[in-house]
């Protein structure tokens, strides 16, 4: 028999109780009156400050708690209640590691296996009108960001026209690409979706990194445009 503090979970009143540790149950008494009796198998420990053992009864919907500060009583309770730390059993780190790894593998499989397959199957099914819409949406943004920097001088445009016509004849006559030239320091090109007509290809005229043979046609374009639309 030793003193502890009991909160019944019904009111905020603090009740000083005596605890009787028996083989089968913790008897909780307030004076002569028995307040509660918790079977030892159902007693669980909760997080509490150092020096305090806070107990609850498993499964009970009430928030009743028993705070034990007496070291001897704590030892007696630890002796008889064998399942104090059991609530954490289902949250063991190994389980968490395993299931997160499983979830990650599933996500990775989706991204690297399913998505490419899906993309391959679905690409032919996407109507050209939808591709055009996508292309227009991005095209609007590019034109807003680079307004005034797109080459529109007649000489440059005519040079570009000659060039793209030659490039197209040399490759696939089916594809009709709409090419525009941007004044930008960043060496880059954007190809937009939208089928033959609405495709737009932007690139810079100051691109030093086009030395390999496959870029020669482009290099030639550059020189042509440089003479055509000197700013």
């Amino acid at each position: 028999m030793a003193d502890a503090v009991f909160y019944d979970g019904e009111s905020a009143r603090r009740r000083t109780v005596s605890v009787n540790v028996a083989a089968s149950a913790l008897g909780i008494h307030e004076g002569p009156e028995r307040v509660a009796s918790w079977p030892v198998a159902e007693v669980r420990q909760r997080e509490a400050p150092n020096g305090v053992v806070r107990l609850m009864r498993r499964g009970a919907s009430s928030l009743a708690r028993l705070d034990v500060t007496d070291a001897e009583l704590q030892a007696a309770i630890r002796m008889s209640c064998r399942h104090l730390g059991d609530s954490d059993r289902r949250e063991r780190t190994g389980r968490i590691l395993f299931w997160s790894a499983a979830a990650t593998v599933s996500i990775l499989l989706c991204v690297f296996l399913l998505l490419p397959i899906l993309a391959e199957r679905l690409t032919p099914l996407i109507p050209i009108s939808y591709e055009r819409r996508l292309g227009t949406a991005v095209d609007n943004q590019v034109r807003t960001i680079f307004s005034g920097k797109i080459c529109e001088k007649p000489r440059g445009l005519s040079a570009l026209k000659v060039l793209t016509a030659r490039l197209q004849n040399a490759q696939n006559p089916q594809v009709d690409v709409d090419v525009a030239v941007l004044d930008s320091k960043v060496p880059n090109a954007i190809a937009l979706p939208g089928g033959s007509i609405y495709s737009r290809l932007f690139w810079t005229r100051r691109n030093p990194s086009m030395r390999s043979p496959e870029f020669w046609p482009m290099k030639w374009v550059m020189s042509l445009i440089a003479t055509g639309s000197a700013r």
Partner: protein, 406 residues
């Protein structure tokens, strides 16, 4: 620990009971570091368990007159909340993408205002998250809980944000007071309703000079920018680029002050029935934590850079010979990439640990131990009421990365 309490649990009338924080910094740091490291192999899923453990620690070590709070939430609830939030957000993002394409087709950047939806949702989520936290907080065997709905709160918050922006921050005290009133008047301890005694005017009186200082700084820099832009090109242009940086610096210097004033106002105003609170929180404490965070982050990054550079150098010299062999090339490059990715993760997690340690735990402990509660005995009569709230809000706040505290 219970020496100051009478045997029957009553205290003399209007006695002041100091709050205290008994948690060990080392213990919190251990939880934080192991939890952060577990996030690497679990690809971040461990954060629900980490958050729950940290909250349990903080709540359990927060005491009024030796009586500790308790956090009853579980990690599984947070995980489910996150999944529910995904179920809400994924269709929303898909609809957003489709609507975005349709709008952009008409006019460039027409879809940008759609971000507003996320912003409203974030306010909604923050209220619901607070509701969840309150109903998982227990004191003396009684649950805190909240009434009220996330939507009216989000509506108010959006209107107040708008008026704050339009008045250059002048409306901020009233905005904070109004939102805090909504939150606190809907918060209950059992059957005892909470309230806030502070008003927007009282908050303004405490903090107007910080606002004025910030405004003066803003005007000065605007004038400076104007003068510099009139000057000849070259030097003036370079000086112009420094101004935003200086502005951020001024903001950072004033922020702890403003936060400290708000914290004191907030805690001084807290009411639960006849229970009142008083705060002795000082701005100096806030600045101390802020500087500790900044300097420890810099120290961490320098140390990390040194170790990373050394490892990279070693890696390069060891594998120099191997790199030339064509069949081994892919494996070394893959492992190098993996090492870089892990290093990047460790740097991010390290910064997160420091932030949570100083601004999470440090601030919590400082605020708790500078607070005193009066008339605690009046809650003896409180009777249990309220139900645990749902987890959607926590999930939304997590998924939208909307910071709602620890």
């Amino acid at each position: 620990m219970t020496a100051s309490l009478h045997a029957d649990g009553t205290l003399p009338a209007s006695q002041s009971s100091p709050m205290s924080f008994s948690g060990q910094g080392r213990e919190f740091l251990r939880l934080l570091i192991t939890g952060s490291l577990f996030q690497i192999p679990t690809f971040g899923f461990y954060r629900f368990w980490l958050t729950t453990k940290l909250r349990r620690h903080l709540w359990a070590n927060t005491q009024i007159e030796g009586e500790a709070f308790e956090y009853t939430g579980t990690a599984k609830e947070l995980l489910i909340g996150f999944l529910i939030a995904l179920a809400v957000l994924v269709p929303l993002y898909v609809a957003y993408a489709i609507l975005g394409v349709i709008l952009e087709e008409q006019y460039a950047f027409a879809s940008v205002p759609l971000v507003v939806i996320m912003y409203v949702l974030a306010h909604f989520g923050s209220y619901r998250a607070r509701k969840y936290r309150a109903s998982r907080t227990m004191f003396r065997g009684i649950r805190f809980w909240m009434k009220g709905s996330g939507w009216p709160y989000a509506f108010r918050a959006v209107l107040w944000d708008l008026s704050t922006v339009l008045t250059l921050g002048l409306a901020l005290p009233w905005a904070m007071a109004s939102l805090e009133r909504y939150r606190m008047c809907n918060t209950y301890f059992g059957n005892v309703q909470g309230d806030i005694a502070g008003t927007g005017w009282s908050l303004f009186k405490r903090g107007w000079w910080v606002w004025a200082l910030g405004l003066v700084g803003l005007i000065c820099f605007a004038l400076l920018a104007f003068v510099l832009s009139k000057l000849s090109v070259g030097r003036g242009e370079r000086a112009l680029q420094v101004i935003p940086f200086l502005l951020i610096l001024v903001g950072l210097a004033l922020l702890p002050l403003a936060m400290a004033i708000f914290t004191r106002w907030h805690i001084d105003g807290l009411r639960f029935g006849d229970v009142t609170a008083a705060s002795g929180f000082r701005a100096g404490t806030y600045y101390g934590l802020f500087f500790k965070l900044i300097f420890s982050s810099i120290g961490f990054l320098v140390a990390f850079g040194l170790v990373g550079g050394l490892l990279g150098f070693l890696f390069a010299t060891v594998f120099k010979g191997v790199m030339t062999a064509p069949e081994c090339f892919s494996w070394t490059s893959v492992s190098a990439g993996l090492l870089v990715a892990i290093g990047y993760l460790i740097a991010l997690l390290g910064l997160g640990v420091l932030q949570r340690y100083f601004l999470g735990r440090g601030l919590w402990a400082a605020i708790v131990s500078s607070t005193a509660i009066t008339n605690l005995q009046s809650i003896d009569a409180a009777v249990a009421a309220g139900e645990p709230a749902g987890v959607l809000g926590e999930g939304l706040a997590d998924a939208l990365d909307f910071n709602v505290g620890i």
